[in-house]
Every structure is written in structure tokens, then in C-alpha cells.
């Protein structure tokens, strides 16, 4: 995981500096974006549709212009450089292979543009095809390939001209689940082998968690949190991130007092102690977030509350319990299927508990539905 502190201005390969984007002159699609990406990093822009992530990628590629702010590549502003002079490789969601050319001609195209002679082109094309394990397919047409094969060709084409920065716009969105997972490892492997910088856009959180060095979670035109996968999952800083990444149990309450880094939050008549992360001050509304696997049945942790069991779903390695806790009947607990584990019964009453460190008091946002 790359830490925040290692990022300095001089080492940033790609930098968004106060970038804003508006299509109609009124609403900002991207609001004050600041993001620094180091050379060789795999950074994912993750967010729901309409969050501005694709717009950011398109601005970096040069297909959209920033309304305000600077985009720097290797320390040089590229705002006024047209897309075809940026030398950035790109993989599109629908692959965008040229249907009238063979696979080999598709890969050869960027090399012809660069005026390379025929034998150099053939060498590079073959090497790129071998890299994505498609060495035999040079003379096929894109339409004769399956979706996964087309995707490999699209990746090879973005890398064949030795681009140091490769952008990927939801490249696996059109593939089925199994192929998608396979391609995730494939892209990850290529990234590690070549050491290229990758900026990847997706709305699929598991894809982001699997592949990325760092993930920028986008919502409403802003980066909500920029962190490595484990930090993002375990230490979400906003209620949006807590809700968007992984499964999340939430309560809305009012902050009664702050004791050190512990917030006492009243939910109904009960006071819950939580880690004060982003909850404002005394009297503010706060959303509490607890991961289902950090809650235990029984009275073990710092916070103990009563719960009514609504539903049990048997999943083999664990049992998923849906509980009614403090008026929230969507509260989920994952009970491990262990020999000494007491499993509650549907309709029964039980106590659940969790540790203060695992319950995070975050901002109160209505949008996180």
C-alpha cells in the first residue's frame, strides 16, 4: 500500500490541481478535484454512475476540457495539448477495436502513426499479442473474437506503443463474472510486469479492491476518500464510503459528548460509544457505521444492545442474521459457523455487542440510502 506521506509534488506523475468541469456552465460535474498519482501506481476511480469519475478520466485523456484548474503530466500542464499528442494509452469500455482491420492491423496502427518501419512494427505487435496470450490471433478480425479476447486485444493495443500511462474506462463491464475476475488478475499481472501507470475507472468495488494500489472514491463530483483497499474498507472516513464499499450497518444519532477520540452518540434512548472520525461536534447528527463481521452475538464488547432476530440465512461458512436493533431492522450480523457458536433463533431476543474501535461515527448524509 502506498502511503499518503510519500506523495510529494515532484514525484507526482499525474496531477489534477483544482480541476472543475461543467458541461452546461451551471452545474459542476467535477468539483475541485485534487489528485496526485505516482509513476507506476495503479489508481482506481471508483464511484456510482454520475459521480464524475469518467469525466475525470476523459479530461486526462483529453476528450473533455477542464473548465477550471490544471492537469499535469510529468510536471507539465496538458490542458492545451490535444488528445493525439498526449501519448496516453486508453482502453475503452466497448473495446473500440477497428472492425475493418485485423487484430494485427489494429495493433500496428499506433506504430504506423509513429512512423516505425515494418519489421519493428511486426516485432512489437507480436510481443504485445504474446503478452496478452493472443499470439495466434494476429490475422483475425475483431468480430471473430469473443468479448474477453477483444478485451485482451484492446489492452495490448493500448500498451503496444510503450505508453507510460494507460487509462481504462470500465474495461471489464461487458464481460461475465468469471471472465471479469480472470481479466482482473491478467491486467494486474501486466501492470506489475511493465511498471506502467494505470488509471482505472469502475463502479465495481470488488474490482477496485482487487486491483488497485490506491482507490479514489468519487461521489457528487468530489473525491470522498483516497486510500488503499484495506484502509478504505476498514477505516472509511465518510458515511458515503462506508456505505458504498462493502456491507455496512448504520444508525443515525446525535453526538452527546466527545471524550478524547470517542464520541458518545445517542440513538433513541441508548447511548453508543463510537470512534469519532467525522462526526462534527456536540449536538450534531452523526451516522454510525459498523461492519457486519465486527459484531458478535453475546455481551463481549464495549457496546451491548438488545436485538430481535428477524431472519437467518445459512451460507455454509457463516450464518447471516438480520436483526432488529434500535429500530433498524436491516442490521446484519455474520455469525461464524463454529462448533462452540451459539446461533440465535428467529423471533428470539438476544444481545449483540461490538468494540468502540469498530464503530465509526461519521458525517450524517441522507444520500447514503
Amino acid at each position: 500500500m502506498v502511503t499518503e506521506t510519500s506523495m510529494t509534488d515532484s514525484s507526482a506523475y499525474v496531477a489534477f490541481d483544482g480541476v472543475q468541469k461543467s458541461y452546461d456552465g451551471k452545474t459542476l460535474v467535477v468539483k475541485d478535484l485534487n489528485l496526485k498519482i505516482e509513476k507506476g501506481e495503479f489508481v482506481t476511480m471508483l464511484g456510482p454512475s454520475g459521480s464524475g469519475k469518467t469525466t475525470c478520466l476523459m479530461m486526462l485523456a483529453g476528450f473533455e476540457t477542464a473548465t477550471h484548474g490544471q492537469i499535469l503530466l510529468d510536471g507539465v500542464s496538458i490542458n492545451n495539448i490535444p488528445p493525439h499528442k498526449r501519448g496516453i494509452g486508453m482502453v475503452f469500455q466497448n473495446y473500440a477495436l477497428f472492425p475493418h482491420m485485423t487484430v494485427g492491423e489494429n495493433l500496428s496502427f499506433p506504430l504506423e502513426v509513429r512512423g516505425m518501419d515494418k519489421s519493428t512494427r511486426q516485432d512489437k505487435v507480436q510481443r504485445a499479442l504474446d503478452m496478452v496470450r493472443m499470439g495466434e490471433f494476429g490475422s483475425r478480425r475483431p468480430a471473430q473474437l469473443s468479448g474477453g479476447q477483444q478485451q485482451r486485444i484492446a489492452v495490448a493495443r493500448a500498451l503496444v506503443f510503450d505508453a507510460e500511462l494507460v487509462l481504462m474506462d470500465e474495461p471489464l463491464g461487458a464481460l461475465d463474472k468469471q471472465l471479469r475476475e480472470e481479466m482482473q488478475y491478467e491486467i494486474k499481472r501486466i501492470h506489475e510486469n511493465l511498471g506502467v501507470t494505470v488509471v482505472y475507472v469502475t463502479h465495481d468495488q470488488s474490482e477496485a479492491l482487487t486491483m488497485s494500489d490506491r482507490i479514489a472514491v468519487f461521489d457528487d463530483g468530489r473525491i470522498q476518500q483516497l486510500a488503499g483497499p484495506s484502509e478504505l474498507y476498514e477505516k472509511p472516513e465518510t458515511s458515503f464510503v462506508a456505505q458504498f464499499i462493502g456491507e455496512n450497518n448504520k444508525f443515525t444519532g446525535r453526538v452527546e459528548e466527545l471524550v478524547g477520540d470517542v464520541a458518545h452518540v445517542s440513538v433513541g434512548d441508548t447511548t453508543i460509544k463510537a470512534l469519532a472520525v467525522n462526526c462534527g461536534g456536540k449536538g450534531d447528527l452523526s451516522q454510525l457505521s459498523i461492519r457486519p463481521e465486527r459484531v458478535t452475538i453475546g455481551e463481549l464488547g464495549d457496546n451491548v444492545v438488545d436485538a430481535k432476530v428477524c431472519e437467518l440465512i445459512y451460507l455454509g461458512d457463516h450464518i447471516r442474521c438480520r436483526l432488529d436493533v434500535l429500530g433498524n431492522d436491516e442490521f446484519v450480523v455474520k455469525v461464524p459457523n463454529a462448533s462452540n457458536q451459539k446461533v440465535p433463533e428467529v423471533g428470539g431476543e438476544t444481545s449483540i455487542s461490538w468494540s468502540t474501535q469498530d464503530c465509526r461515527a461519521l458525517d450524517h448524509a441522507e444520500v447514503a440510502a
Binding site: P83, H84, P99, P110, V113, A143
Partner: protein, 294 residues
Amino acid sequence: MALPPYASTGQKFWHYSFRMLCAVIFFFLVAPIFAIIPLSFSGGEYFTYTEEMLTFSDGAYSLKHYEDALTNPEWTTAVWNSFRIAIPATMIAVTLGTLAAMGLSQSHVPGRRAIMAILISPMIVPLIISALGMFFFYSQLGNFLEDTVGLSQGLVEYIKVVLAHSVLGVPFVIITVTATLVGFDRSLTRAAASMGAGPVRTFFKVQMPLILPGVISGALFAFITSFDEVVVITIIGSQKVQTLPWQMFVGLREQISLTILAVATMMVILSILLLATLELLRRRNERIRGLTPG
């Protein structure tokens, strides 16, 4: 379409009467064109089917009208003029129409529907009205070219007709090219740009090959429009630029010769060939489309 085994009497009746109806409509559309074809092989000189022709007696049929059409300087000049005008008019129409279609297919162009409507209007406005407008407009242009630039009268007549026919051909090119651009994946041009290709290279290497079927069918329509056109040419043309249709029109009025029918038959065959080409292109286009990813 075969009749299903469960068809009721009413459905059977409709099934067969529908076929009859189709045959009648087809006959109604095509018969007048085919009526002239046997007549063009007539051994006589008149616009009627003679007794001899109906009984297939000796000398009832001959190729003499075709011979006349292909050797008589009046007709050969007309053929030459038709091609001499149709080919450059088609090229101008294709260039302008393709550029216009590409521009108008970009969503950010303001008032593109209005512009499109104006560019298409030569196809909708009655030809006689366009022709009159062109007459006044091009007579000014003609005077300028003759008096100020000093071009010969024949050349000026020629330029005027070529320009007028280009205008008539542009709408066809715009429509066919716009139709192919509708299915054109914009990410292809973006992909080309991301690989370093400038706009010109992208156009010729990526966009053009994919919209080519539309461009070619537009070109064929523009060519036929110029080749068949009789109203504009009679109004703004002159003796020096008489085309085939013009010659036929004048011929009908002044000397009713069966050579006209021989020429007409040849034009029908040319049109059928062009339309067949069009159909083959359309199929090829569909094949490429069907295979495009995504």
C-alpha cells in the same frame, strides 16, 4: 411465408388475395417501364406495336434504333455531356454532403436540425422552383464568370449546370452518410486519437472506411439524379450542354423517333445496375455492422 396449418377460411382467403394484390401493385409500378422495351427493338418507325411485331414476322424486330442511338452524333454528344456533367457534379456533391453529414452528426452543433432541413430542401422543394431560383442566381454568376473572369460561354454553361446538379445531389449524400454515421461508434475516433492519430489520419483510416458504403450509395443517388435530370437542365442549360434526358425531351417534342426508346431502355438497364450495386453495398454494410463489437 407459408400458411400455418391452423389458418381459418378467412385467413386463407386473405393470404391469397394479399398475394394477388401485391402482384397487381407490382404490375402497376413496373409495366409502363417494360412496355417500352419491346418497342425499342421495333423494325418500324412508329410508337405503336405493329401487327408484324405481335406475330413475330421477319423484319419486325431490329437493332437499328440502338445503332442510331450509339452512332448518331446528336445522341453520342448527349451521352458524353451526361457523363461529363454527372461525374464532377457527383464528386462535388459527395465531398460537400459527406462533410455536412459529419458536421451535423456532432451533437454540439447549434441549430443542426434547421441546417439539415435547409440542406435537404432541394429534394423537397418542387424542382421547377429550385430551377427558377438557380436560373436567376446562376445567370448572375455566369455573367460574372464570362465578363469579369473571361471564361468562354460554353465553359460557363457547363460550370453552371455542374454546380446546379451538385446542389441537387447533396441531399442524397447527406441522408445516406448521416444514416451510416448514426451507428458509428465515437469511441473509435477517440481510440485513434489516443494512439496518436491526428484528425486527418483518423478520418481517412478509421472513419472513411466505415462510412464508405453510405458515401458510395449517396454518390450513386447523386449520379442518377444528375443523369436523369431534365427540369433544371432545360431552364439553365443550353444547346452546348444538352444531356441525354434533355435530348429525349426535345426529341419527343420535335421528332418522335424510336431511338428515344432505345436510349430509355439503356438508361433503365444502367439504373438497374446501379441499384443492384447499391443493394450489394447495403448488404456488405450490414455485415460489417453486424460484426462490430459491443
